[in-house]
């Protein structure tokens, strides 16, 4: 890809991804967090799936210790894919020691995707840094805007923000439903979580569903066998 193409791809991805930070900001405030708490999540956690999970559990379960604990564990487990991205980025970025701290924060779906789509190593590094920084800046600005909007509009249900939160999860799952096994895990997890919600402490059903995934992962049940 040409020099200018990496720049425009990175900025385009940053802007598009950043935009839905508006929905994160608004939903977080609707879930009961204040503007500062919402902004700190975008600054320090900086991983969309984990952030939506954290506020989703708070929205459904409140601010009790069990709910907050489940929110922490869910956000943590949803961050696992970033570890796999970091494994792919480490040899490309070739950072040593403390130089790894900042690129680690910027290691997310988008920066890894743009970097690994490039051919030569210098373009890969440029794609990673530009996309990571662009998403970081736009995501945080959009979060702030969304949080103020969410604060201003009052009852979240009237504006369909509860439906927006559900739709955000649907949008995050959608690209991951490529074959039978992931579809089965998705359906099973959703049903288990809904069925267990009246029976277990708030937030815990989500973690039980995570256990189901590990069983599927280890047994490789319902996988499409290679021909």
């Amino acid at each position: 890809m040409a020099r200018s193409a990496v720049v425009s791809t990175s900025l385009g991805v940053g802007l598009a991804t950043g935009l839905y930070g508006v929905s994160f900001g608004a939903l977080s405030v609707a879930a009961g967090l204040d503007v500062w708490q919402t902004q700190v999540l975008s600054l320090l956690m900086f991983s969309g799936g984990s952030q939506f999970a954290f506020i989703g559990i708070i929205a459904a379960s409140g601010l009790g210790s069990v709910a907050v604990g489940a929110a922490v564990v869910s956000a943590w487990l949803l961050g696992i894919r970033n570890g796999f991205y970091a494994v792919r980025m480490a040899p490309i970025l070739q950072r040593v020691g403390l130089q790894k701290l900042i690129p680690a924060l910027l290691t997310i779906d988008e920066s890894t995707a743009v970097a690994t789509a490039q051919v030569n190593p210098s373009e890969q590094r440029k794609g990673f840094w530009l996309t990571g920084l662009a998403v970081f800046v736009f995501w945080n600005l959009a979060t702030l805007l969304g949080a103020f909007l969410g604060d201003a509009i009052g009852d979240p249900g009237t504006w369909g923000l509860d439906a927006a939160a559900a739709a955000a999860f649907l949008g995050l799952i959608w690209p991951r439903l490529k074959e039978r096994q992931s579809l089965a895990v998705a359906a099973f997890s959703m049903v288990i979580a809904v069925v267990l919600t009246p029976l277990l402490p708030a937030g815990v059903p989500v973690l039980v569903a995570g256990g189901v995934a590990i069983v599927f992962g280890i047994s490789n049940w319902l996988a499409v066998r290679p021909k």
């Binding site: 935009l19 210790s65 943590w76 439906a163 559900a166 739709a167 439903l177 895990v185």
Partner: protein, 104 residues
């Protein structure tokens, strides 16, 4: 033990960051095993689906079907049509808001 929201936010942020830094420090052979990468991918699907179930179909810990269902149907159609994330989320919100406005 009382776990307040600020502690939770900082703890969760550190926990999410820990995966990223572990990935930079670990030899790639550890995370490149098929069973590990497959379980991690399925774990992501499972947690997000469970959250979709709870956010979409429960109210006060009870199973509930309301304006969120048609909102999600609209969202699914837009995803199928490859609409951008923000457009899909906004359309779902508008659908639920409109239904509530019309049906009181």
């Amino acid at each position: 033990m009382n776990l307040d929201i600020w502690t939770g936010i900082l703890l969760a942020s550190a926990a999410v960051y820990s995966w990223k830094i572990i990935g930079f420090l670990l030899p790639s052979s550890v995370l490149n095993k098929p069973v590990v990468s497959r379980s991690a991918a399925l774990l992501t699907v499972a947690l997000l689906s469970a959250l979709l179930g709870i956010q979409g179909f429960t109210s006060d810990t009870q199973f509930t079907l309301d304006a969120r269902l048609p909102a999600l149907a609209v969202g699914a159609i837009l995803l199928w049509l490859r609409a951008p994330f923000i457009v899909m989320v906004a359309a779902a919100a508008a659908t639920a808001a409109l239904i509530r406005l019309l049906l009181g």
